[in-house]
Amino acid sequence: MRDSRWFRWLTTGWGDRAFRIYFVAYLLYVLFPLAVLVLYAFHSTEYQTWPMKGLTLQWFRELLDDSKLLLALKNSILIGLATMFFSTLIGGGLAYGLVRYTFRGKAFLETLNILCIITYGVVSAVSVLLWFRMLGIHGGIWPTIVGHTTFIMPFAVMVIRDRLLNFDREIEEAAMDLGASRLRTFWDVTLPLIMPSVMAAGLFCFTISLGEFLLGFFLIGNKVTLPVYIYSLMRFTFTPAINAAAVLIIFFPTLALIVIAIFFRREVESLY
């Protein structure tokens, strides 16, 4: 009896198991609000009380009638792609320069970079608004892209820098000894090696840009980004159309992630 497998399962490994249980609990805690959001998208009344009164699809209909949501989505995706592109490019450059070289002002740049991340908030957003307003730049898509890139780029720097620091320079040096120019070395040797983190940085930047609220709110002017639109829905609409929007917003990225996981399994695995 004492040697049976289930007995052993019952009495040992609690240390590890506790961790696993805790992690699952945490995961549920993170995902629970999403489930609630989705659930209430089908609630038949406006008032979000529990238990639910009934099911309906009317909020989806209301939402699809509202073309502003699709516009907001389109704007957010455009801004996200642009931010991803510029942040990774510019940030990657900064990371490379900071890691591989020493030059005057390096410490200054590093400090600036970190400060940019940690002081991000209302303060940064309104300061940029004031600056743009003073320059006579009105709100719109491109000012938002500039704002997003400035504050999201440091994340790309962080990710790429981490990777750059952690691999052997010897490979690069070997390539250069063999006669490759700096540029060639970078292209054929360094870049493939840091590619996973470049992709991760890109994805990271895109994601942050999609969900970014403050800069978008102040810089977008007459147009809308998705978080700004949701905020306005929350203030002025107060119907489960918001939840319906949430369902759509949750559904598509999850689908995208599943697609990535299936078709790009190899690249994903190389990430960790």
Partner: protein
């Protein structure tokens, strides 16, 4: 390409083998980093640093110079911020919320990060799963806590059903709600760096410690904690400062008496001509963040060299 072919091409590759004139080599040493780093520095200086000075400029004006009233330079905005109790109180309150939220966040995140980095082979994958909700707007997720925590919401319903309470507990529009929202928003920001830094603790050290007879807890305290101290401090700084600047939790889950400084700044730009006071507050908050960051950076450096 085979080695031979590569060797054959060496003659055509100038920079690697042929000796370049000194000025050209030095130029390329100096030029490349500056070139590569230039766009980023331009962006940071132009759109991060410069705006701070613009905020300073506006904070010293009496009115916004856009329409009808001509402004003059004055310190009255700072005087108002110092005199009127609401600003002081909001500032202190924000600090308290941030500290509490960070502590709770640390307690919640550490085991998760520990599990992901040490106790499972697929930590990276699980981390990605954890980050999926990031794709959905944080606004929505905090908003849904309104449904869960409301007086007629899910939590209260089951508490009543179990019989624990008779009248619903008010979670929303209180400081509890705000802190809850902060913890929820920022634990992922805590988990990521903790995960990274915990991953750097070499397995051999842990095993050696266990071999020497220390139990798991002692290993944790004596080995893991000290080794991850600087990483933890960075994570704590990040979350502390981020909670300080958070707007959404207080707006959605907080009440009239849970005013945080970020809401105040946000509101001054939303409603009317108080952009000057908002700028003054921004300058003060930014300076405070700078000071805090400097203090923690110093602590982090000391921890690293310990």
């Amino acid at each position: 390409m085979t080695h031979q072919e590569k060797e054959g091409r060496t003659e055509t590759m100038e920079e690697g083998t042929k000796k370049l004139p000194l000025w050209r080599e030095r130029l390329s040493e100096q030029a490349i980093p500056l070139l590569v780093v230039f766009p980023a520095s331009l962006m940071l200086i132009l759109f991060f640093l410069a705006p701070m000075f613009v905020a300073l400029h506006f904070s010293l004006l009496s009115n916004v110079p856009f329409f009808d009233i001509t402004p003059y330079y004055t310190l009255e905005n700072y005087v108002r911020v110092l005199i009127e109790p609401i600003y002081r109180n909001a500032f202190i309150r924000t600090g308290i919320y941030a500290i509490i939220a960070t502590v709770i966040s640390l307690l919640v995140s550490y085991p998760v990060a520990y599990y992901l980095s040490r106790k499972t082979k697929r930590g990276g994958l699980f981390l990605l799963i954890l980050l999926i909700p990031f794709w959905t707007s944080i606004i929505l997720r905090v908003f849904s806590w309104k449904i869960i925590l409301g007086s007629s919401g899910i939590l209260n319903y089951y508490l009543k059903w179990i019989g624990l309470i008779d009248t619903p507990i008010t979670f929303l529009y209180t400081s509890t709600g705000v802190i809850f929202g902060l913890v929820y928003t920022y634990t992922p920001y805590m988990i990521l760096p903790l995960y990274a830094t915990l991953g750097k603790v070499p397995n051999e050290l842990i095993e050696a410690s266990l071999d020497q007879g220390a139990n798991r807890l002692q290993t944790l305290v004596r080995i893991t904690f000290p080794l991850t101290r600087s990483g933890t401090i960075s994570a704590v700084i990040l979350v502390l400062l981020a909670s300080f600047g958070d707007v959404l939790s207080a707006q959605l889950l907080g009440g009239a008496n849970n005013l945080v400084i970020s809401t105040v700044i946000f509101e001054t730009f939303m409603a009317g001509s108080n952009w000057t006071v908002g700028s003054a507050l921004s300058v003060i908050v930014f300076s405070a963040l700078l000071v805090l960051a400097a203090i923690f950076a110093r602590m982090g450096k000391e921890a690293e060299y310990a």
